[in-house]
Point group: C2
Chain length 211, copies 2
Amino acid sequence: MSGVRAQQKEKTRRLLIDAALSQLSAERSFSNLSLREVAKEAGLAPTSFYRHFTDMDELGLTLVDEAGLTLRQLMRQARQRIAKGGSVIQISVETFMELIESNGNVFRLLLRERSGTSAAFRAAVIREIRFFTMELCDYLQQANALDAEVAYMQANAAVTIVFSAGSDALDIDDKDERELLSKQTIQQLRFIARGAAELSDRRKAAKKSQK
Amino acid sequence: MSGVRAQQKEKTRRLLIDAALSQLSAERSFSNLSLREVAKEAGLAPTSFYRHFTDMDELGLTLVDEAGLTLRQLMRQARQRIAKGGSVIQISVETFMELIESNGNVFRLLLRERSGTSAAFRAAVIREIRFFTMELCDYLQQANALDAEVAYMQANAAVTIVFSAGSDALDIDDKDERELLSKQTIQQLRFIARGAAELSDRRKAAKKSQK
DNA sequence: TAATACAGTGTACGCGTGTACGCTTAATTG
DNA sequence: CAATTAAGCGTACACGCGTACACTGTATTA
């Protein structure tokens, strides 16, 4: 039941996925990648593509799924590092920046398709980012004992800032400049954390005095 | 010297620009707009396009320029409203959201080309956004007497948050939901403002005690 | 072992693309 | 008024695209 055939099929499917992923770059987005190019890179005849995906769109959604997976791995890695002690914000930003350096194209895929022309893609990307945001939200709420709504707004703002910084980092070659960007990003996240903590406190005080 | 001919040429040039602009939408980005389509929409033969632009890229850069102009108009309008009194942050966000509702496609152009595949486009968009950020930075520095570096980080974070909210707003039809988004954005900007003010104060205190 | 299912191939088609080239026609120039 | 300039047009070309269709060879099934 393992199936030599099914195994082979899965293998070529991966070949297609990897081919698409490997063709992404600063000057090449998924949406201007053609079915023929991907098939060729994978070493297949164009028409063989259809044995695995009905559409380039279907392949694209698979790619977005994989990118979401990468995002979750990032989260896990950051958590592990944080457990060993140190500034939460600093470790998170540094971990994120490492991801961007090693997986630039995956990250680019998310950034581009988030504002792309396919509603399905946009929805898929937004879903992944929301998931990421929610996980951060839970963490903030627990770790800092924040008001739920405040925690959400902080998580949301933080993710926005970090993703934007990541996008900028993709266009920076100079190492010192990247470091500067990281430092600024960390500072910006601290702004947000400070403002959020304060609002949360004020809300708690208001609730108490009402009782 | 006014030139009936030159005037006519300028008119058709605008026809092309407007044609391109009018074809932009949620499901149509500039980069998947063809020269022929634009020419057709403008009521011209495909080859006539070349009398005005060497390239679709050249047209695109012109569009980005126009978008930058729109951004500057926005700034001016917000300033006027602020002068009449009210919460600076609230008025700014509301003004921005109005722009997005009336000029969604112009805004989409900026968002998309910022992470697009053409280095020239990316540079042009980043330039416009930086200009916008710097103007806000000057304002913050003056109005709130902030440390220069802190003002920059605040301006940068604020623009990031507002643009991201704008991007989200483009996908929201429901009016109540938009209002909620606006409120959250305002709150997030206040987080940042609070954090920035505090850091600026701390820096000033440090400088004084050194003297 | 014979029949079947199916991954992968090769050919062929119509379509939309960018653009080279020569033409027309009217404003500009001398 | 004659010569020139230049905006806009029409034709024509090669190209890459998605995909329909009929095929081959091999793992799976009965």
